[in-house]
């Protein structure tokens, strides 16, 4: 029985090309040197069933692209007291190519680590005179899907040195902290046990390169912080809030574990 199980447990051997055009690096044979616990890197895509993986091969089959389309509309819609839209200053959404791979990054002007959501809200509140979007509002998650989609195929490449270093250290410490009454860390599931099954779930490396993810289970796009929140809650722990300083640091650290994998969002997961 165990032999059968472990064969099932391997990451699927497969390659991802989107729309017959965008090649996605979903596997590398060498993780960055600063990640001691990983030798290879895998996108979560390799751990999903055949039909779920197939949905990512063509944008017409990827339900996450509906969020991208909705965000294209809002991109061009004026909002706020300044009467401006994203398009007023950034032209086409394609101008955002290269933004997602380096997020989160240190915002020198603000003197703190900034995620994509925070940059979007900075433009909305300070440049458009519009209200900030909530971290998990559909409008926000859709906009992050749009901005990710124009970077698909580009390698994740977050900076971890200089002003980013203390955030990275904090995130790393969290990654190995055994939270909750089940006393499980991110590493217990996603570093020590990726490829294994925990009940029906095929554990991936918990990479963030493919976010936001369209989850078939909830039929909606899921932000990075919302995923973190669910994973910590499942250890019978008091979780952290999306947008919290803790999750921003953790996001940087987890993103750095995926440096070299391609940006893949919006992706499809179960």
């Amino acid at each position: 029985a165990l032999v059968g199980l472990s064969a099932m447990a391997d990451p699927a051997e497969d390659e991802l090309v989107i729309n017959g055009d965008i090649t996605i690096v979903t596997h590398t044979t060498k993780a960055p040197d600063y990640i001691e616990g990983l030798s290879e890197q895998y996108s979560g895509w390799h751990f999903r069933e055949d039909d779920t993986r197939d949905m990512e091969r063509d944008d017409f089959d990827n339900p996450g692209m509906l969020g991208v389309e909705a965000a294209r509309d809002s991109w061009a819609e004026a909002d706020g007291t300044e009467g401006k839209s994203c398009a007023s200053c950034h032209n086409e959404p394609e101008s955002m190519a290269g933004v997602r791979p380096v997020m989160p990054k240190f915002n020198t002007e603000k003197g703190e680590m900034y995620t994509l959501e925070m940059y979007i809200n900075q433009c909305r509140t300070e440049r458009m005179g519009a209200e900030a979007w909530g971290w998990d509002d559909a409008a926000m998650v859709n906009m992050t899907a749009l901005i990710s989609s124009v970077s698909r195929g580009m390698p994740v490449n977050v900076a971890i040195d200089g002003p980013a270093a203390p955030y990275w250290e904090q995130g790393k410490e969290m990654y190995y902290t055994r939270y909750g009454q089940l006393e499980l860390s991110c590493a217990n599931c996603h570093e020590q046990n990726y490829g294994n099954h925990i009940r029906a779930d095929h554990l991936s490396q918990g990479q963030t390169n493919a976010f936001p993810t369209y989850r078939l289970k909830t039929a909606s796009l899921n932000s990075i912080h919302n995923r973190f929140k669910g994973c910590i809650r499942d250890t019978r722990a008091e979780t952290f809030k999306p947008g919290s300083a803790e999750f921003i640091a953790l996001e940087l650290y987890v993103a750095s574990r995926g440096n070299g994998l391609s940006v893949e969002g919006p992706s499809v997961r179960n």
Binding site: T177, R178, G180, N193, H197, R233, A237, E238
Partner: protein, 157 residues
């Protein structure tokens, strides 16, 4: 009405007290093993099988396969198969592993099922909210641990 509640309370107090259970903080581990039954009562293997396969209770099959439970779907493989556990381990060792596996396997991924303190950010069940540390109950009750141990002892090859 009031009288009924009072009677109910008395009954549950009596049930809790009559067996002089060992509290989670009072369990004594010798090289990971726990010699004494936590309740002074023998375990019920059939109940133990339920505890192990139920998601809301032990959910042991989330991480372990048990060939003797062919009807239980989606058995995981984070831990070793439990087939033959009754040959490999003595009763006292199994009681220790199920109560607090970290006393037998240092740093193991396996959660401690009979422990109520020493957690980082413990939550109120799976709500994601904090729990008052004084209100934490072990994941399994003392008799449930005994029932699981009784079941594990039936797993012979």
């Amino acid at each position: 009405m009031k009288r009924q509640i009072a009677a109910g309370l008395l009954m549950s107090l009596a049930a809790g007290m009559s067996f002089a259970e060992t509290a989670p903080g009072d369990v004594s581990y010798q090289e990971g093993a726990v010699a004494q039954s936590l309740t002074g009562q023998p375990g019920d293997a059939a109940e133990g099988a339920k505890v192990m396969s139920s998601r809301a209770l032990g959910n042991c099959v989330a991480c372990h396969t048990v060939s003797a439970m062919p009807d239980v779907a989606f058995q995981g493989n984070v831990g070793p198969t439990l087939d033959g556990a009754g040959d490999r381990w003595e009763e006292a060792q199994l009681r220790g592993i199920v109560s607090n596996a970290k006393m037998t396997f240092e740093g193991t991924v396996m959660p401690s099922f009979y422990k109520t303190s020493g957690f980082i950010r413990p939550g109120d069940g799976y709500t994601g909210k904090a729990i008052d540390p004084a209100a934490i109950t072990p994941i399994l009750g003392a008799q449930q641990i005994e029932d699981v141990v009784a079941y594990l002892l039936t797993l012979k090859e």
